[in-house]
């Protein structure tokens, strides 16, 4: 674990329990997830019980407690995407990757995620891979997308 990052986050937010969410977002941005040792340190330094740190980390959809694969494939299951057939895309990707949402393929290449709307509804259905938004997909195109990564 890169200690420097943890120290930096702790330095910024020490003694500011109201900044818990910001601190967690910062940690996750660096590690890609929330490692337990980091959460323990954070709890101490911010002055909040560990149970509350976990309470918050499990409440919000953005936070992950497990490490992620090299790429994150996030299927939008929001309304606009739903009516344009995102469920078929979701099933196709799930079958291809062989994992449930939140899990990572055995080779560590892809983590499958779902989200309810990323705000790109006009080009529904949408899949976001890492930071890149891809729209106007169908199952075929979505599967072909994986090959690019």
């Amino acid at each position: 674990m890169e200690e420097a990052i943890l120290e930096e986050v702790v330095r910024i937010y020490r003694g500011k329990p109201e900044k818990l969410i910001a601190a967690l977002l910062a940690l996750q941005r660096h590690y890609g997830y929330l490692p337990e040792p980091a959460l323990r340190t954070l709890a101490q330094e911010l002055g909040v019980p560990l149970s509350k740190v976990y309470g918050v980390a499990t409440f919000y959809a953005q936070f992950r407690l497990k490490p992620r694969g090299k790429h994150t494939v996030c299927v939008c299951l929001g309304t606009a995407c739903h009516v344009r057939g995102s469920e078929q895309i979701f099933h196709a990707l799930k079958r291809e990757l062989g994992v449930e949402p939140g899990d990572t393929t055995a080779d560590g290449r892809f983590t499958l995620e779902v989200v309810s709307c990323v705000g790109a509804c006009s080009m529904a259905p949408v899949v976001v891979v890492d930071e890149e938004t891809h729209g106007r997909l169908d199952p075929e195109k979505a599967l072909a997308l994986l090959k690019k990564y």
């Binding site: 329990p17 196709a92 079958r95 709307c117 509804c121």
Partner: protein, 649 residues
């Protein structure tokens, strides 16, 4: 002077440390403190380069850098254009900039040529050269890149395109027309003038009075009168008050707030500062979803620039009034759209709603009086101040004033961002502006107001858009998402979809919401699997009423709306599922069956190739067939067969 924000010469004394009340006007029409034609000329030249007047020979190319166009490839266009323009030796005549959403996202990437307003659609890198050569050099728009309707007719000019013709873009007036990362352009377009006039010519009470008279109601959902809310917060004695902008936009299908923050962030900031002055608050938060990285980035830049110009911070423009603004990134919880949950989240807690007595205007964030409005509401405020409450009140209907921005998506032809006066009918919105249904299919329903809203059938499309009419129809305005569904969408499955969403997003505080939505979801899943019975329908209705009546926050009390409205308007579809075990829209997977018609199948093997479970067998050039025991009913064979040989039963 490279920007309007730079001093014109050494005689200009303005800096945030030495503020001046004429600053905002001075940047555009000044200088006021000294008289120098050369200084005036330089300002004018800058303005002309950004807002070229017709006939000047100057052009400005606005490339849409909204999320949708960006994802479709627009981010690399400005650089390519600049290179091509330089190569053609036109850099003195044409400037290029990336702007926010232009509205017609469906046709993106878009680019607009000013001042003539020629709109180009579906741009690719390969098209850049043609536009520079034929249009910028030759003076003739490139025909093949213009907007084209179904009949093949092209529309060179943006205002003539049917999508824009019936709209009234006032809040979105600048969105897509200015560089959102440059405060100078906002000021040049009239920005921060409302703030100036508030600070120097109106008392806080007068500001509140003006907002009250305008009739502005909250654009985030329930439509509470904005002026009343501000008044309530001001009345509570306290040394500290807060202003919060809700940019959590949790409704799937909604992207109005994202577009505003990406395209015109200063309008929101200006509205918040005015609110701060009116209620006596010196600190605000923008609570924005982490799912919107681009919006967060542009907002951050805007706030920095506003501080640098002395429009945020201590002693704004020398008025003695101070206001500080922070960004708070949300972490993905729908319930945080609920005001009290949102405040809990800013305080660093789980976003769980609390009882609304006392109201947030009395005891809100950190226990202090707080005004919480959404992005669009704040963006309306400077307009009202500048053009007057009377102007605003003249737009719209008796109970719902002004305009409303909608995010149009789903099966409609022109998806995108739309602004219409209140009172416009849903039909005008879907058919005149949205262009009707894609692919010649039949309209079935529209979903308005997100998971808390309802589904409205075809025979109610004459409904005018205002808070009361929509609520009367069992739906609600919500934040402004409209998702259009056609004959291929199953309404039972749609109801299941929404319940699945609210069940997952319930914070778990109240039993009726937590367990009731779960039970309703179970029933709906049963029906979509073909295992429902007619008595399930009344059970659903009963449960829906209970959840509605006994849940605590807005999420729970509105969660049954999609189920109740579909039961009311699309009952026959439910009955078809429970009596005939059929889903005529073909969306309920378990109820589908696929067969290959031997007489139509030419044995090309395309279906066998795409079938993920190898359920299709057959020799080349001979009719294939599906093993129904293996088939997982994904429908890929149905979509791929070019000879209509795969039939859905």
């Amino acid at each position: 002077m490279r920007s309007l924000m730079d001093r014109c010469c050494s005689r200009c004394t303005h800096s945030p440390q030495t503020p001046c009340k004429d600053y905002v006007l001075c940047r555009r029409d000044g200088p006021f403190c000294h008289d120098d034609p050369e200084c005036k000329r330089r300002r004018k030249a800058w303005l002309n380069s950004r807002f070229p007047p017709p006939g000047s020979g100057q052009r400005r190319l606005l490339v849409c850098g909204g999320l949708t166009c960006g994802a479709a490839g627009s981010f690399s266009l400005p650089e390519a254009f600049r290179k091509a323009i330089e190569k053609a030796g036109l850099e003195e005549q044409v400037t290029v900039t990336l702007v926010g959403c232009l509205g017609l996202c469906e046709e993106g990437p878009l680019a607009l040529v000013m001042p003539e307003r020629v709109l180009y659609c579906r741009l690719k890198l390969e098209d850049v050269a043609a536009i520079v050569e034929e249009h910028f050099k030759g003076g003739k728009p490139v025909e093949r890149l213009l907007f084209r309707d179904d009949t093949g007719k092209t529309y060179p000019f943006l205002p003539e395109i049917p999508f824009y013709r019936k709209q009234q873009r006032v809040v979105l007036e600048r969105c897509g027309y200015i560089n959102p990362e440059d405060i100078a352009e906002y000021i040049a377009a009239g920005g921060y003038r409302a703030l100036t006039s508030v600070l120097f010519s109106l008392s806080p009470e007068e500001v509140i009075e003006e907002i009250k008279k305008s009739g502005l109601r909250g654009r985030g959902g329930a439509g509470f009168p904005t002026g009343k809310k501000w008044e309530a917060a001001r009345r509570v004695p306290s040394s500290k008050r807060y202003v919060i902008c809700n940019a959590d936009e949790g409704d799937p299908g909604a992207f109005m707030d994202r577009a505003l923050l990406e395209g015109d962030p200063h309008a929101v900031i200006e509205g918040m500062i005015i609110c701060g002055y009116a209620i006596g608050s010196d600190e605000g938060y923008v609570y924005v979803r982490a799912e919107y990285p681009l919006a967060v980035k542009r907002l951050r830049i805007a706030i920095e620039q506003a501080y640098a110009a002395g429009l945020l911070g201590e002693n704004i423009l020398g008025s003695g009034f101070s206001f500080h603004l922070h960004i708070n990134e949300g972490a993905g919880a729908f319930v945080c759209g609920e005001s009290t949950a949102l405040m809990a989240s800013i305080e660093g807690n789980r976003g769980i709603p609390r009882i609304k007595v006392p109201r947030s205007t009395e005891k809100g964030l950190f226990g202090k009086p707080t005004v919480l409005n959404n992005v669009e509401t704040f963006a309306n405020v400077p307009l009202i101040i500048l053009r007057g409450s009377q102007w605003f009140a003249n737009i719209g209907t008796k109970g719902s004033k002004g305009t409303k921005i909608f995010a149009l998506s789903g099966k409609v032809k022109h998806t995108g961002l739309v602004e219409v006066p209140m009172g416009t009918t849903l039909k005008e919105l879907i058919f005149d502006i949205g262009g009707g249904i894609k692919g010649g299919k039949r309209f079935k329903a529209l979903q308005i107001g997100g998971p808390s809203g309802g589904c409205i059938p075809e025979d109610m499309l004459d409904l005018p858009i205002d808070y009361e009419s929509l609520t009367g129809a069992g739906a609600m305005m919500g934040s402004g998402s409209i998702v259009v569904m056609d004959e291929d969408n199953c309404m039972v499955n749609t109801a299941r979809f929404f319940l699945n969403f609210t069940e997952r997003e319930s914070c778990g505080k109240c039993t009726p919401c937590r367990e009731g939505t779960k039970q309703m979801l179970n029933i709906l899943e049963r029906i979509t699997r073909g295992e429902g019975s007619p008595s399930d329908l009344s059970l659903l209705e009963f449960l829906g009423q209970v959840v509605k009546a006994t849940s605590f926050c807005g999420l729970g009390t509105s969660a049954p709306n999609p189920v109740l409205t579909t039961l009311r308007f699309f009952r026959s579809e439910y009955l078809q599922h429970v009596t005939e075990r059929r889903c005529s829209a073909g969306e309920c997977m378990a109820l589908r069956r696929f067969v290959i018609l031997a007489e139509k199948c030419i044995g090309c093997g395309a279906c066998a190739y795409v079938c993920p479970v190898k359920a299709i067998k057959g020799e080349k050039k001979k009719p294939h067939h599906i093993d129904e025991k293996v088939c997982v009913k994904c429908g890929r064979c149905f979509e791929i067969c070019r000879f209509q040989a795969v039939k859905r039963l």
